[in-house]
Symmetry: C2
Subunit: 201 residues, 2 copies
């Protein structure tokens, strides 16, 4: 939304929405609450809604085939990368501490870190061939990848020295005004490494 220069406020109070989900289910976040009271759930549905209603600047740019590549990679990071890497690491290192769920399971963390290397290589592979991950323009693929990576970087799990090309791409994302604000967020009780919010790392 910052990339589209939209004004918004963030809240952890979820709106009441009977029938929005089955009973007994936690709402899926994020939810976009429009000024008219209407709600949109699901990150990809929100992005597509914003693309349709606020097309400039596009975050799913190009013709149908280029857009397919943006959506494919966005799903890749939000599904596969999350399932293999960022989901388990955030659960083990952050959720367990914040919600007092016991000690991290080092076997789970090791498996996720092993998968991480392949994904960082893949990002470098893409960034070497294209200006941004899905093509010549910034897209939701870059924002999705960077949001997962910033969580891992916050807990010190990105071995940047082994992934120079990926680091160059990430420096470009970090320098965008929309991303600077995110880097100021802190998890109470967990300090990020010094380089976390620095552009020069």
């Amino acid at each position: 939304m910052s990339e589209k220069r939209l004004e918004f406020s963030l809240s952890t109070d979820l709106p009441e929405a009977t029938g929005f989900h089955p009973p007994n289910r936690r709402p899926t976040v994020p939810v976009l609450a429009n000024e008219d009271g209407s709600l949109i759930g699901d990150a990809s549905a929100i992005v597509e809604f914003l693309e349709a209603t606020v097309p400039d600047p596009p975050l799913i740019p190009g013709e149908a085939m280029e857009q397919a590549e943006v959506r494919r990679l966005t799903s890749w990071f939000n599904s596969t990368f999350h399932r293999e890497v960022s989901g388990p690491i955030i659960f083990e290192r952050i959720d367990k501490r914040v919600f007092r769920l016991g000690e991290p399971d080092m076997a789970h963390i090791r498996a996720a870190l092993e998968a991480l290397g392949d994904h960082l290589d893949f990002i470098g592979f893409l960034a070497e061939r294209r200006r941004w991950l899905a093509g010549e323009e910034l897209s939701t693929a870059d924002l999705a990848a960077a949001s997962h990576i910033s969580c891992l970087d916050y807990v010190g799990d990105i071995p940047w020295h082994r992934f120079g090309r990926t680091q160059e791409w990430y420096v470009r994302i970090k320098s965008r005004p929309s991303f600077r604000a995110l880097l100021a967020d802190h998890v109470p009780g967990i300090q990020p490494p010094r380089h976390y919010a620095n552009l020069d790392f």
Copy 2:
């Protein structure tokens, strides 16, 4: 693709595609291979591509807000429903048998069946208020929900007698020509219940 009256053939031979995924990763299915050799991965990217290039009939119909509801519910069935219900049941009842991975874990199946009831209620709740799940027109939300449910029905896990409204909606989906062909598919060695492919059940 049948709903859009597109000709296609199905294949389990995945195309070679260096750089499409990170190394060491199984390709995510489905992949759409176009006649010009171009590939599109990820189910939602394929659907959006088909919507953009073959808009009639629409499967994400309506204006931006109606489309958001289609996409939200489609994601709900492909993510939450799959994670809680159809993923574990298919793994326990089908994958384990086909790939000889041992006996099904009845605790996992019981947890999934318990979640299933809430979801079938939710589908009935939607189908009572709208002609189709996301609104007045058939959409990918119906196709996604029905595809997961048909897998569960194949292994006899849908207690239809308790979910009359959901059953009425499912009869309408089953009667569509695009769906009839799917109901003829069989998993070798696993027989579906008699009602599985019948409209009158």
